[in-house]
């Protein structure tokens, strides 16, 4: 069971959180939506990096403070390398 450090509440068991999948996928602006192809829209909607290594992802402390935040987590070791606020760009990390 993962131990995730909520940026507000501190370390809590995984089951207090809900997973929000890949982070840093910006929703296309209306202008972009109106000019993009269906394939490009599908790219936004469905295509994912799904890396074997460090994954930048979103979590929400669903059973706690209800706040969303970003996590850099290694998808093989499950090591949580960094927790950082929404809106902050993905940190540059040495690939492990």
């Amino acid at each position: 069971m993962l131990l995730i450090s909520c940026p507000h509440c501190g370390p809590r068991d995984e089951h207090e959180f809900a997973y929000g999948h890949e982070a840093h996928i910006a929703r296309p602006t209306l202008e972009q939506q109106n000019t993009m192809t269906d394939a490009e829209w599908a790219d936004y909607l469905f295509m994912r990096k799904n890396p074997k290594g460090v994954h930048f992802e979103r979590w929400v402390h669903a059973r706690g403070c209800r706040q969303w935040f970003n996590v850099a987590r290694h998808t093989v070791t499950h090591e949580i390398i960094k927790v950082y606020p929404m809106g902050e760009p993905a940190p540059k990390l040495e690939q492990k």
Partner: protein, 417 residues
């Protein structure tokens, strides 16, 4: 020709203390180039190679496996085989596979122990019953066997189920596919490997693909830990690692990899002769021929390539199990493990072409890949051999994520299996 496996050959070999058995498949050195390279020596990949050789006469084929064949999800699943899918496209594909399973032992001269002992899906609420009827009626009209059972019929088939009306989630009914059941997962991989090898396919274990050679958008071969191997066509069949391979080839997929956990009990004398699944309370169970109860539940929520998952998934699953089967409380968990499943947004697989020419893809089977093994290999072999999707595979092209023609099996599956 491989030596034939039969009761006679077994007796004959017994007399010579089994010194005369040949290796089931060779361990050749890689050739510089193949007509087709299949990346991934799981059941699907081996089946693809087998059908390429058998049905399309393409024998200059290599199967590249980074570890040992059948070592991924093929060897980690709960061995369930069924074709009771809601949507026409899925039903036809999985039924194709089920039919191949029905002749697989003879075709491969390898007993895959396909046991059509019946598979039951329980319904516990009004809503479950509506969904169940919808599914059963659709399956029936697709010409596939499926029926609805009353609680009394369920109790008769599986007396150890708690069918009392006072249960938190009382059993209100079930669907039954009598032709569904289980097969010996390792045997499926080994059987395909042995017969593919017999037809000339090179099975290259401990051969890890580290990159693709792509020239002007056309794939020319793969880089591996054993050097470059040329390939006129390349098929990716690596389940949970599909995203990694796609990354090496320069594109992304609508796929996420998640851990799917399973577990077995200690072996006991036969107590459960049917596969029982309950989407509502998230558990499915069968008893292997060795006597172990084989159990699965849903996937873990987060993406992961670690073959472990969260304990609360297991706890909830066993909570549900012991509620359904109150006599199972004293049985013990023997072993627990995880596989990495590649899940698509619509819970249906992707079979077909990729943005790279001559590079083909077969992935996204999520939690249900084992049952599809022969069917998947069969239609994928056709797709690679002809360059055009098999008609059963056509709806499952990557393209559907652009058009929006998804085959949403979430409602049909409900629970991973």
């Amino acid at each position: 020709m491989k030596q034939n496996y039969s009761i006679f050959s077994l007796v004959r070999n017994a007399l010579s203390y089994h010194q005369g058995w040949q290796e089931a498949w060779r361990s050749p050195a890689p050739k510089p180039e193949y007509d087709v390279i299949i990346i991934g020596g799981g059941g699907h990949g081996l089946a693809t190679a087998y059908y390429l050789a058998k049905e399309h006469g393409i024998t200059n084929v290599a199967v590249l496996e980074k570890g040992w064949i059948g070592g991924g999800n093929t060897g980690r699943n709960t061995t369930i085989v069924r074709s009771n899918y809601l949507w026409d496209e899925s039903a036809h594909l999985y039924e194709h596979s089920l039919k191949l399973f029905e002749g697989l032992t003879q075709d491969l001269n390898y007993n895959v122990m396909f046991s059509q002992r019946g598979l039951m899906n329980l319904a516990h609420t009004q809503h479950d019953m509506q969904a169940l009827r919808r599914r059963v009626y659709a399956i029936q009209l697709n010409g596939i066997d499926s029926e609805i059972l009353t609680p009394e019929q369920i109790k008769e088939m599986v007396p150890i189920l708690d069918c009392s009306a006072s249960a938190r989630y009382p059993i209100m009914g079930a669907s039954l596919q009598r032709r569904g059941g289980v097969a010996r997962h390792d045997a499926v991989a080994w059987g395909f490997a042995r017969k593919a090898d017999e037809r000339g396919v090179d099975i290259l274990q401990n051969t890890e693909v580290t990159g693709f050679k792509i020239v002007n958008g056309v794939v020319k071969g793969v880089e591996t830990n054993r050097g470059f191997i040329g390939g006129k066509k390349v098929g990716i069949v690596v389940a949970g690692h599909s995203g990694v391979m796609a990354g090496l080839a320069g594109f992304r997929l609508p796929v996420e990899s998640h851990p799917l956990q399973a577990l077995v009990s200690e072996p006991i004398k036969p107590i459960l002769n049917t596969v029982v699944m309950s989407p509502q309370v998230h558990v499915y169970v069968s008893q292997s021929d060795k006597g172990e109860l084989v159990l699965g539940a849903g996937i873990d929520a987060y993406t992961s390539y670690a073959q472990v998952g969260s304990p609360f998934i297991i706890e909830n699953q066993l909570n549900a199990l012991t509620d359904l089967f109150p006599c199972f409380g004293r049985l013990r968990m023997l072993r627990q493990w995880g596989g990495i499943v590649d899940t698509c947004p619509d819970a249906s697989p992707i079979i077909g072409k990729t943005p790279v020419e001559n590079l083909f893809l077969n992935c996204g089977w999520g939690t249900g890949g084992f049952k599809a093994t022969p069917g998947s290999g069969n239609v994928f072999a056709h797709t690679i051999a002809t360059g055009e999707p098999h008609k059963l595979a056509q709806p499952f092209a990557l393209e559907r994520f652009t058009t929006g023609y998804l085959i949403d099996e979430h409602g049909a599956a409900g629970v991973a299996h």
